[in-house]
Amino acid sequence: MLSEAITSSLRQIDDLELIEDPSRRKVYESDGLTAIAQMPPLVGLPNSLQALQAALRLCHSHGVPMVARGAGTGLSGGATPLADGLLIGLAKFNRILEIDPIKMTARVEPGVTNLAISKAVASAGLFYAPDPSSQIACTIGGNVAENSGGVHCLKYGLTLHNVCALKIMLADGEVLSLGGAGLWEDGLDLLALLHGSEGLLGLVIEVTVALRPVPEAVTVLMAGFKDTDAAANAVSAVIQAGVLPAGLEMMDRLAIQAAEDFVHAGYPLEAEALLLCELDGSEAEIAGLSEAVQAVLQAAGADSLVEASDAAARARLWLGRKAAFPAVGRIAPDYYCMDGTIPRRHLAKVLAAITERSMHYGLPVANVFHAGDGNLHPLILYDANDSDQFQRAEAFGADVLAICLQFGGTITGEHGVGLEKIDQMCNQFTALELAVFHAVKSAFDPSGLLNPGKAIPTLNRCAEFGAMHVHQGAQKHPELPRF
C-alpha cells in the first residue's frame, strides 16, 4: 500500500498518468515470469522526464521503493511490482531522437522496442545487432537493464557491446550521462556497470546504440546429427576452422519435433540434434565461406545438410528455432524456461546430467542452446495445475542451475537474476563477493529504493537459503516469492 498522502502528491505531478483502477493495474502484476505476481498498489506512467524526475524525487524523499518497467517481457521477475512501492512504466518514452548515419549511432528513448531501432535505421543500410527473441516487444531500456543477448551474440556481442552512451536517472532524480562523445572516458567504467544491473542502480532514460552496416550477404546452414555429442563437436570444428558464424544454434530431439509440428520449418525429424549456422559477410566471400563450413559439418558427421540463402528460405529455417518456446508450450500445459551458460566442452556431460534429473523428477525437458556461446535453455515441461508437478519443476530448475555451476558456468546467461534466481546467487557467489555488489548499490542508491529485493540477495537471505538445503528443500519462508 502507498499512503494517501503520497498518492495525492503523485496525482499533482504534471505529465504523470497514474493508474489506480485495480482492473487496469492488474496488467502490471507480473513481467514475463508470470509464476510470480504482485498487484502494484499504484502504477505511474510518466510522459516527460520532468514528470519522471518529480515522481522519483517524491518517492525518494518519502522512502517509497520504486520498480522500473519497460515492456514487461523479462523472464526473471526483474519488473515484478512491490506491495509497498510505485511501479514506473517507461513505455511512453518511445521516440527515436536521432539517427546519425555517419557516426552509425541512434539516440533513443528507453521505451523504444529493440526491433523498432533496426526498422528505423534500415533505410540507412544499418541495423542494431542484439536480437533477443522478444525483440518485437522488449524495450531498449530493458535490454540495457538485463544486458540482453539473442542469437547473434557470438559475433556481435551483447547489449553491453553495442551501446555507446546512456543517460540515467538515479533514485534521487539526478541525471547523468555515461559514455562520452568518443569511445573512451576517464574514470571508472560506469557505462559497463549499468548493463545487467536490473534496475537497481539507476533508471535508463536515454540510450545511444551503435549500429552496423547490414551485411551484403547472409546464408543459413542446417545440419542434422544422430547425437548431441556429434553436434557439439561440429560446433567446435566450425570455430576451430577459424569461422565466426553470426549465429550458431542447437536444438535437441524434443525441441526439433515440437518446432516442426508447430511451424513445419522442414526440420529433420529423425535427428537427435540440429544445428543452425548463420554466416554473413560480403557477396565476394559468402559462397566460399558456406562451402568451407559445409565441408566441416559433413566431416563432423552431419547426416543431413540444407542451405538457405534467400531471405524466405532463411526465415523458414529460423522460424522453427524462434518458435521453439511456444512450440514446446503446445506439447505441455506449462514449461519452465531455464537460462544457464556452461563452457561448451562440458555440453555432453551437462545434457546427460539434465536427462538424469529429468528422469528423476519424471518431467520431460527440451533443450535449445545458443551453442556458439554456451548459453543453454532447457525447457522443463509440467502442469502448473498439479501442485506436485509445479514443485518438481521448481526443484528440477534449481538442479539445472546447480549443474551449470558445477561445470564452471553461470546461473544466468541472458535472462537475469530478478526474483527467480536470487537464491541461486548464494551458490554462485561468496558472502564476500555479494558484499561487493551491495557496496556498488550503496554508491548509486544509498537508500536502497530502486528495485529492492531483486538481483542481489542479502546475506541474511543466503544464510536462510543455505539452511533450507539441510531441511531437504522445505521452504523456510513460504511467503517469500520463489520460483
Partner: protein, 342 residues
C-alpha cells in the same frame, strides 16, 4: 607460477601498515599514474602462466603477470588473437596491466576495446581477501559487472590475479593501405570509409592515412576497389607506431576523445579510431573546443607536469562514490586526475 598467497600477504601487510598499494605488472605503463604518491608498488610480474585455454571455445584464462607477448604467442599458435590489440610500451607488459590500463589499439571502433574481451576476473579486494567475478563464459549476467568495472580502473579497486578473455580466429588476410594527405582530407576519407566491410583500422600519422583490411582473401579485392585511387599497400609498421605511440617528441602527450566528425583542429600528432581519438604533443593542454570531446593528459614529456584535476561533474562524483564504497580505507591508489586545470 602461482603467487596469489605472496601477493595477498604483501597487500595485507600494506593494509596493516596503512600504506597505499599501487598494483603493477611489467612496469611499462607506470606513467599512467602521473602523480603517484608514496604508494607501495606491488608487482604481479612473477604471477604468470596460462591457467586454461580452449581454442574451440574462444576462451583463455591467464594469471595477471603473464606477459602480453607470451599470451599473443600462445594464441597465435592456435591461429587466434586478442582483437582489442593493446598498445605495447615494452616487452615486459602484462595482461593485468593491459586490463588495468584499459587501453585498446586501432581496432577499437570496429571490434571493441579491452573490456569487450574480458569475461571474468579474480582479484585481491581492498579488504585483502580474494574474490572472483564473471567467469569463463561469454554470456553471464549474474551480479553486477564487477569484472568490467575493473577494466581501465588503473588498479584503483583491486589487484588483479586472473583474467579470462574472449579471443577470436586470426583473419585470413590483414593488409594496411596508406595514402599521403593532409589531416582534413584524411578525416573526409575516414568518414567516407566507415562502412567498408573488413575495415579494422583507420588512423593518421606523419602525413599518411593508414587504413587496414582484415577478412577473407576473397573479399579483399572489393575492399581495395572501394578504397579508391591512391591507396598503396604498406607495412604494419605505421599502424603499430600509432598504436604504441612511438612518436618522437619532447612535450607532454594529450589525448582527445570525441566525435569522429568533429572538426580537425590544433596541431595534432596523430588520429586513430577513425577520428574518435586524437593525439596532441604540447607542454600545456591543447586548446581544442571542449563541446565535442574531452582532453586528458596521457604521458609525460620533458617539461614539468601540468596542473591536472579529477573529474568534478556528476559522473566524476559518482565514480568517486563507487571507489569509496568499494575501498573505504583507501587500500588501493586512486584513479589519477587527468583533466587539465582550467
Amino acid at each position: 607460477m602461482d603467487q596469489s598467497d605472496v601477493l595477498q600477504r604483501v597487500v595485507r601487510a600494506a593494509i596493516s601498515q596503512r600504506q597505499v598499494v599501487q598494483p603493477g605488472g611489467g612496469g611499462t605503463k607506470g606513467f599512467l599514474h602521473p602523480a603517484a604518491a608514496a604508494a607501495v608498488l606491488v608487482s604481479t610480474a612473477e604471477h604468470e602462466g596460462v591457467l586454461h585455454y580452449h581454442p574451440d571455445e574462444l576462451v583463455i584464462r591467464v594469471r595477471s603477470g603473464t606477459r602480453l607477448i607470451d599470451l599473443q604467442a600462445t594464441l597465435s599458435e592456435a591461429g587466434q588473437y586478442l582483437p582489442c590489440e593493446p598498445p605495447s610500451f615494452g616487452a615486459a607488459g602484462t595482461v593485468g596491466g593491459m586490463v588495468a590500463a584499459g587501453l585498446a589499439g586501432p581496432s577499437r571502433p570496429y571490434v571493441g576495446g579491452v573490456r569487450d574481451y574480458v569475461l571474468g576476473m579474480k582479484l585481491i579486494l581492498p579488504s585483502g581477501e580474494i574474490a572472483a567475478f564473471g567467469g569463463d563464459v561469454m554470456k553471464n549476467v549474474a551480479g553486477y559487472d564487477i569484472t568490467r568495472l575493473n577494466v581501465g580502473a588503473r588498479g584503483s579497486l583491486g589487484l588483479i590475479l586472473e583474467v579470462a578473455l574472449k579471443v577470436l580466429p586470426i583473419p585470413e588476410v590483414v593488409q594496411v593501405y596508406g595514402l599521403t594527405c593532409d589531416p582534413s582530407l584524411a578525416q573526409r576519407h575516414m568518414l567516407a570509409q566507415r562502412r567498408l566491410t573488413g575495415l579494422s583500422a583507420s588512423a593518421y600519422c606523419d602525413g599518411v592515412l593508414l587504413v587496414r583490411y582484415q577478412g577473407s582473401k576473397r573479399a579483399k579485392a572489393a575492399f581495395e576497389q572501394a578504397l579508391g585511387q591512391g591507396f598503396m599497400p604498406v607495412s604494419n609498421a605505421g599502424l603499430a607506431a600509432v598504436r604504441d605511440l612511438s612518436f618522437v617528441h619532447t612535450e607532454h602527450l594529450w589525448r582527445w576523445d570525441g566525435a569522429v566528425d568533429a572538426p580537425v583542429t590544433g596541431r595534432l600528432v596523430a588520429m586513430d579510431w577513425g577520428g574518435a581519438l586524437r593525439w596532441f604533443a604540447s607542454d600545456v593542454a591543447p586548446d581544442i573546443a571542449a563541446d565535442e570531446g574531452v582532453i586528458t593528459w596521457f604521458r609525460p614529456g620533458e617539461g614539468i607536469l601540468p596542473a591536472l584535476t579529477p573529474r568534478t561533474d556528476g559522473v566524476g562524483r559518482l565514480q568517486q562514490r563507487v571507489k569509496t564504497a568499494l575501498d573505504a580505507n583507501g587500500t588501493f591508489i586512486g584513479y589519477p586526475a587527468l583533466r587539465p586545470s582550467s
